[in-house]
């Protein structure tokens, strides 16, 4: 394969590589742009979703708050029915002046009243406790067992925290966590105790369309969980990750609020007695669909980018076929002299300079300048068109005579140049080979242009310069060979001269 062909292939290869690079850059650009747009769109969608879910949970939590308020208010209202008759609420069992008979009769009356009132709800306790711990009504074994050593009256009295209404709520009494109590003072020596099992609140805390993994809790003033949709939490304090947000100033304002943190969406609603409904759901659960959408969109983007690349490849293939060789052809047009078919001056100079710089470098170079003698007469007598034909034939002749190791260029008009690099060859051998080759050129030229020589005395003169590679450049080679050519012209033409030997009359 010739250097020229290799060069053409390299040019085509570089062009194809350039096409792929452009395609790759565009594909990356598409991916980056779509990923960026996706991120913007999905991020905004995620935020919108969080806001919507937050609003939805807030609305539902508000409903839960209303439900629990309604439930607690009923728990408070029912005992007030004991105030319908003085017998019920003024009876004091500790009154030593009262006869036992009257006590028995009063207590029977009160028990009947409690039975009637107790119809209203599922009470686990609904009874009156007196200052001496005597009990009337339904005071369950479970509650009694919390006070095996007495003190039931004093303990529950201490939970009356609302001085205006003389009542109070409590949870976790003596470590009990299965019921919550409402205490109401009836008279200075009697309190009413009513309680419900906290699991009863499950019917109050029915959450419409409950989100997966959402936890609904009712907590007291000390953030102890009284009810939770997660049974294992009941009796425990609110988890730290929830509590730290609840304790923010934002929440301490006492309003019902919601907050979206990195980990949780939390909503709190304050009940009328100060307890809170706390709903929480992990943020990633809310955004699960959004994450899935993001993943889906990215996959689609990737697929589209791939599609773009494939389509691009097809287009490039289609486009590049007619362009095959075009680049190298254009390059040839730029580098090759159109008449002679050898390198033009600029390309010849560039090629020679590249050869001089290449590693490992040659030891010696042979630079030849050639110029046709009397070429002007060809143009004048035979016409410029004929002159062009002479140049064409001269190019063919040189390309025929010299192998690929020799760079051939047309430097202008009827002037040609040859460059050959040699390595590890003695200068004597090179010179001998150069002489032999120059003789061949003159002879071949004479044969090729016999007619022109007869008509116009066309011949060829040359100047040869053999030089070590180090310390030389194109300009040096050109000038030295040109000066040798000049000598050949002066010495009668149709001969060649080696630079540096003219003093010794070394012309042939």
């Amino acid at each position: 394969m010739s250097d020229k062909n290799r060069k053409r292939e390299r040019s085509d290869e570089r062009f194809r590589l350039f096409q792929y690079e452009v395609l790759f850059v565009f594909a990356m650009l598409i991916i980056i742009v779509t990923a960026f747009l996706d991120y913007i769109i999905l991020d905004r969608t995620g935020q919108a979703m969080q806001e919507k879910v937050s609003d939805l949970i807030a609305a539902n939590s508000r409903q839960l708050e209303l439900n629990i308020n309604s439930y607690l208010e009923r728990m408070e209202t029912t005992p007030t029915l004991l105030f319908s008759d003085e017998v019920y609420y003024l009876y004091d069992e500790t009154d030593e002046k009262m006869e036992d008979y009257d006590k028995v009769k009063n207590e029977e009356t009160i028990k009947n009243r409690i039975v009637d009132i107790g119809l209203m709800d599922n009470y686990s306790d609904f009874g009156i406790v007196f200052a001496d711990d005597h009990k009337v009504g339904w005071v369950s074994h479970g509650t009694q067992d919390l006070f095996k050593d007495g003190g039931i009256y004093d303990t529950f009295s201490s939970y009356i925290t609302n001085p205006k209404k003389n009542d109070g709520w409590c949870f976790g009494v003596n470590g009990n966590s299965d019921r919550m109590y409402y205490i109401k003072r009836l008279n200075p020596n009697a309190i009413l105790i009513s309680s419900i099992y906290t699991r009863e609140l499950a019917s109050v805390f029915v959450y419409p369309e409950q989100l997966d993994e959402m936890t609904i809790r009712l907590v007291d003033d000390e953030n102890t969980i009284m009810y939770s949709s997660d049974d294992s939490e009941i009796g425990e304090k609110l988890p730290d990750e929830i509590l730290k947000n609840i304790e923010d100033e934002f929440f301490d304002a006492g309003n019902s609020s919601s907050i979206v943190t990195r980990d949780y969406l939390i909503n709190t609603n304050v009940c009328f007695n100060g307890w809170r409904v706390v709903c929480s759901v992990p943020t990633d659960i809310i955004l699960k669909e959004n994450q899935e959408l993001k993943s889906f969109t990215l996959r689609i983007s990737g697929a589209l980018a791939m599609m773009f690349v494939l389509v691009g490849l097809v287009i490039i293939t289609k486009l590049s076929k007619p362009m095959d060789g075009m680049v190298s052809s254009l390059q040839d047009k730029a580098e090759i002299d159109r008449l002679s078919g050898v390198m033009n001056k600029a390309t010849f100079q560039e090629s020679v300079e590249n050869e001089l710089k290449k590693e490992p470098s040659d030891d010696l170079v042979v630079f030849v300048m050639m110029d046709m003698d009397n070429f002007k007469q060809i143009n004048d007598r035979l016409g410029h068109s004929y002159g062009d034909q002479v140049i064409i034939r001269m190019g063919k002749l040189l390309r025929k005579l010299y192998n690929n190791q020799t760079i051939i260029g047309r430097l202008g008009g009827d002037e040609f140049a040859l460059y050959t690099g040699c390595k590890d060859v003695p200068i004597e051998d090179i010179k001998a080979a150069a002489i032999e080759r120059m003789e061949q050129v003159i002879e071949a030229f004479s044969e090729e242009f016999e007619y022109e020589r007869e008509q116009c005395e066309l011949s060829i003169s040359a100047g040869v310069y053999i030089k070590e590679v180090s310390g030389t450049d194109f300009k040096d080679l050109y000038e030295k060979a040109d000066s040798a050519l000049y000598i050949s012209k002066n010495n009668g033409k149709s001969c060649y001269t080696f630079y540096g030997e003219e003093a010794e009359d070394d012309e042939k």
Partner: protein, 433 residues
């Protein structure tokens, strides 16, 4: 030419980019628009369950209901519950107002009160597809059958049992009482320290008094048709005996009976249903006390024992239920499901259901105090009679207790009180009829 090609390329590039972005945006946003979505919520069948009992029963029953709902997620069970005192009145309100629960824990006596013709409750035979009736013998089913209709299924059989704090008896050098005289002797010893031999609820007190009457008279207090058989003179003697029990520190006045007084040893013993063993026997044992069990005191030469037995409690389905299938599934679950049986254990007494017994046998049923008490009951089968419903009629019991109080607190003579009591009881019975 070069500029034209570049311009074309840029145009193609932007068109493709725009198409891609448009496609992505369309994919994203079309997810929520353009299609209509329908969310359907399959409504659950809501049924109600009602029962009475203590804390333990409330808690395990609610846990059982949760489990049932896991098994039948299309059924939502709401519940009503309360303690025994006053529950009969609540039931009366619900039944009379046709507002009773779909599935009800009922007392044996209520079959006569609300379904003497068998129409007051659902005929469970019609729901045999959902209820495993093979777990019950014909005799057991007969307890809940009225007018040929199976109105209820018994959960367990019950009778009375006496539990004593053996440590208290040992403290006073006393043995378990076998006769009424033994009880009075014990009362004399304990009374010195203002302690009592026995403490019990009003209802148990009435049955204790009846057993004495039947032993001493050889007659039943109520005829099989529910009418009062005791004469006013006999009632007078009975009231005097009742007072003597209190005065002799044999029986703590029911108004001042407190479980804590029994648990603390201030009251040495109690009489209760076998089904209350967890509370009065196991509960006392948990305090570290030694507990002894014994049966009724007897009167030498007595012609009747005065001992009664009954189905402890029964499950029935409302005749008004709109969801008999779901109610039957719940009833079957409560009686026969292994999870529920293990939750319930012997809290309601030794179960009747063969399936439940099989399951509990694996759990060490024979070691329970309830089982031992029932075994002892079975040894005295010849002395046991099926309870007459009026014996448990709360109004009748109140009439007796309140009338007797007049005598005990010296507000009237025994004769006057007996007159009032008999008249009131007869009025109540006539009213029931």
């Amino acid at each position: 030419m070069k500029n034209k090609a570049r311009f074309t390329f840029i145009i193609i590039f932007f068109i493709m980019t725009a198409l891609l972005v448009f496609t992505l945006v369309k994919v994203n946003f079309n997810a929520g628009y353009g299609k209509s979505y329908t969310t359907t919520h399959q409504g659950e069948t809501v049924i109600q369950l009602s029962w009475w009992g203590n804390d333990a029963r409330h808690i395990y029953t609610m846990e059982g209901v949760d489990h049932f709902q896991e098994l039948y997620p299309d059924v939502l069970v709401s519940y009503r519950y309360g303690e025994w005192n006053g529950y009969e009145k609540r039931t009366k309100v619900w039944m009379e107002s046709d507002n009773e629960a779909d599935v009800m824990q009922i007392n044996y006596a209520w079959l006569d009160m609300y379904s003497s013709d068998g129409e007051g409750f659902y005929d469970l035979n019609e729901l045999s597809e959902y209820i495993d009736l093979d777990n019950f013998t014909e005799e057991e089913k007969a307890y809940g059958t009225k007018n040929g209709k199976l109105n209820a299924l018994p959960i367990a059989m019950n009778t009375h049992v006496f539990y004593y704090n053996q440590d208290v008896l040992d403290e006073y050098g006393l043995s378990l009482p076998k006769t009424w005289d033994d009880l009075f002797e014990m009362g004399e010893a304990l009374g010195k320290d203002d302690r009592y031999v026995l403490g019990m609820s009003k209802k148990q007190m009435f049955i204790l008094i009846i057993s004495y009457y039947e032993q001493s008279s050889g007659k039943q207090m109520f005829n099989q048709d529910g009418t009062l058989a005791i004469s006013k003179d006999e009632m007078t003697e009975l009231i005097e005996f009742y007072r003597s029990l209190i005065d002799g520190h044999v029986l703590c006045p029911v108004d001042t009976f407190d479980r804590n007084r029994y648990m603390s040893g201030e009251i040495a013993g109690t009489m209760c249903w076998v089904s209350d063993t967890k509370i009065y026997c196991d509960g006392l044992a948990e305090t570290g006390a030694n507990v002894s069990r014994c049966m009724y005191p007897v009167l030498p030469g007595a012609k009747r024992s005065g001992w009664y037995t009954k189905p402890a409690t029964m499950w029935a389905i409302s005749s008004n239920t709109e969801h008999p299938e779901e109610a039957a599934k719940l009833l079957n679950y409560l009686l026969n499901d292994p999870y529920m049986v293990k939750l319930q254990q012997t809290e309601k007494g030794v179960p009747v259901s063969k399936k439940a017994i099989e399951i509990l046998n694996e759990e060490g049923l024979s070691e329970t105090n309830e089982y031992k008490a029932i075994e002892e009951m079975n040894e005295h089968q010849e002395n046991l009679q099926l309870i007459i419903p009026n014996i448990e009629n709360e109004s009748i019991i109140d009439a007796f207790k309140q009338g007797a109080d007049e005598y005990i607190f010296d507000k009237a003579t025994a004769e006057e009180c007996a007159d009032v009591i008999c008249d009131e009881i007869n009025e109540i019975i006539e009213g029931t009829e």
